[in-house]
Symmetry: C2
Subunit: 346 residues, 2 copies
DNA sequence: AGGAAAAATGTGCTCGAACACACTAAATTT
DNA sequence: AAATTTAGTGTGTTCGAGCACATTTTTCCT
């Protein structure tokens, strides 16, 4: 049972006191060359690792973390995030943490600004932010950083020097995954990319996915597929889609770039057209039900729960264990069909 | 900044000393009814959580964990496990852990017995075991348990009261996932299930997958598929498969129940037959290369790395944080194509 | 050489839980 | 009533890192 070396052990081996070793370890100077040499000699061959538990006992500060995300009641895509936050709370309750959530209205820029303002007033140690509104998010990040509040982001990428960590997916690659799936299951013919969302702020998301999707097919030389893009909004989407289906009888596949695949599936179902393959995003109950029915062939899991959970666990690693934060973490792009869906829904 | 309550705080609130509170918390008796009542009253409305960091600092025992698994050089399926172990070591180096690996020859029962014997002699605190040889594994588990060594398993399920935790996949469901994939991509016709492995000990694995696969199709009433099973061994498998292909010209899909899909793919490739869909297991380099080429359509990831990592992290949770161990953890059955493979290979 | 300043080094306390041990007060025995 | 057991309670030390402060040693100047 070879115990781990402590500062005291190192001190003894080097023939000095623990205070001196401590000064060397923390490079706080005031150490003679002689002592420095002997301590370094010991350290080099002794592979000392500080006991992080002991270190932490001393620093018994309570770290407060605020998670800022859209209200899951407005958009159920965010629902799993609550579970992710709960899991993190449970998992990390051993440490001195205070995690709280703050919701904004995903349709309302003002509410995003307001929520961030009030979180700023709380002066937490860190904020985990879903930066839905690009410009406003940059503003918020700047203000947080001014107050020395650490900001990590998830779900939406934000180009900022001040962001310490991003957890999310590579949307371009996500589009490629969808394209490969369509390529696997859809017959030769026409393929539609459907952007179905009111929200302008999702435009970047949708565009990146489209780019990836088209990129896949453009790399295949003898492509038997023709790719068209269709934009739908809540208003009149039914007749618009029905018209589109009539105008494009050779349609064999549809890629929906948002979580609204179930709304498309409903219409496809009505037309009793079994030859159109459907690929969409996110494991909403409504989507799953069409997946089980067979109308939707595959869903791609963007894993919002894991995004938040990982974002929080990185903060814990940083605050509690002093680990370096990885600037970017790209989650796997999970392919989901009716048979493996349950595993991704917890 | 409301700090967490300590034993001392509780003691003060209840008007006793920390020693008495400690006795109540650990139910060590020797406490008067009066003191017990007042302490319980405080505890009830104060939701005290012991500081696990402080507790751990005191109990500075080094927990030793042995991982017993097949030599990755004999079967590269196990290669990712090394990474999983390394990751766990890195992640948990803050705690007093000593994790070491022991390899046995997956073809040799005797080596399995021998390795377990020598691990038993090391008297670790816990063993994480890949119980490839059923009967011998049960023996080993019994001996470990006699010596009060905690045993968790991964990859292969073992029916034993003494196993505290299993991390792996639901093989039956895994077969269903494969069936659904075949159903999505293969044309009507004949489907072959190929069991390609010498090792009898994998028989249960392969059978469970076959059952799940057939179960899926038997639930579809108007099935346009006919499912046949073919067993192949290393010897003569080439000619045997070629004969099979000639005899079954209507073959549209193959499900390989082991990680040997690349060997089937090689032959299919030679025949220049593009109409046969291939589904296999595991992200071996050779399999990935056929996945990128398009010969293999999907791979199912059994996630050996995650299995070991999770198995170890459960042990840490148990030893360090006193958490209850979940008896069984079933990992997601990841569907992998050429576009999302990289995320599952670390 | 004497003394002050600067540099180097060591000591001691803290964090919270856990537990051994010392101690007090009540109960029982002689 | 004194002696002894036993129930109940409090005190003090430990774990390892970190840092303030005390102490010792060296350097430098008059």
């Amino acid at each position: 049972m070879d115990k781990k070396l402590t500062i005291k052990d190192i001190a003894q081996l080097a023939g000095v006191s623990k205070g001196t070793v401590d000064r060397v370890l923390h490079k706080r100077g005031k150490v003679s060359q002689k002592a420095l040499d002997s301590i370094n000699a010991v350290l080099e061959q002794a592979d000392y690792e500080p006991n992080l538990i002991a270190r932490n006992l001393k620093n018994n500060k309570i770290y407060s973390i605020c998670v800022v995300l859209p209200n899951p009641e407005s958009d159920s895509y965010w629902q799993p995030c609550i579970k992710g936050i709960e899991q993190a709370k449970k998992e990390f309750k051993a440490f001195n943490l205070s995690i709280s959530s703050y919701y904004f209205d995903p349709e309302d820029t003002e509410s995003f600004i307001a929520v961030n303002k009030s979180v700023l007033n709380l002066a937490p140690d860190a904020v985990l932010l879903a930066p839905l509104f690009y410009k406003e998010a940059l503003d918020a990040v700047e203000k947080y950083t001014e107050q020395d509040i650490l900001v990590n982001t998830f779900n939406n990428q934000l180009e900022s020097e001040e962001i310490r960590n991003f957890v999310g997916q590579d949307l371009h690659q996500s589009g490629r995954v969808a394209a490969k799936l369509i390529h696997s299951i859809a017959e030769k013919g026409q393929i539609a990319i459907i952007h179905f969302d009111e929200k302008i702020k999702n435009a970047v998301h949708m565009q990146e996915k489209e780019k990836g999707f088209r990129n896949y097919f453009s790399q295949k030389e003898n492509s038997d597929y023709e790719v068209t893009t269709l934009k739908l909004k809540r208003k009149n989407y039914e007749t618009k889609l029905e018209d589109f289906l009539k105008e494009n009888p050779k349609l064999t596949g549809i890629f929906i770039t948002t979580s609204k695949a179930h709304q498309i599936a409903e219409i496809i179902d009505k037309t009793k057209n079994n030859t159109i393959s459907l690929i969409g995003y996110d494991l909403l109950d409504k989507n799953i039900s069409f997946l089980n029915k067979g109308t939707i062939d595959f869903l791609i899991n963007q894993n919002p729960k894991q995004q938040v959970y990982l974002g929080l666990s990185f903060l814990v690693d940083h605050f509690i264990f002093g680990k370096e934060i990885n600037p970017s973490t790209l989650l796997p792009i999970d392919i989901v069909n009716s048979e493996n869906a349950s595993y991704y829904m917890e």
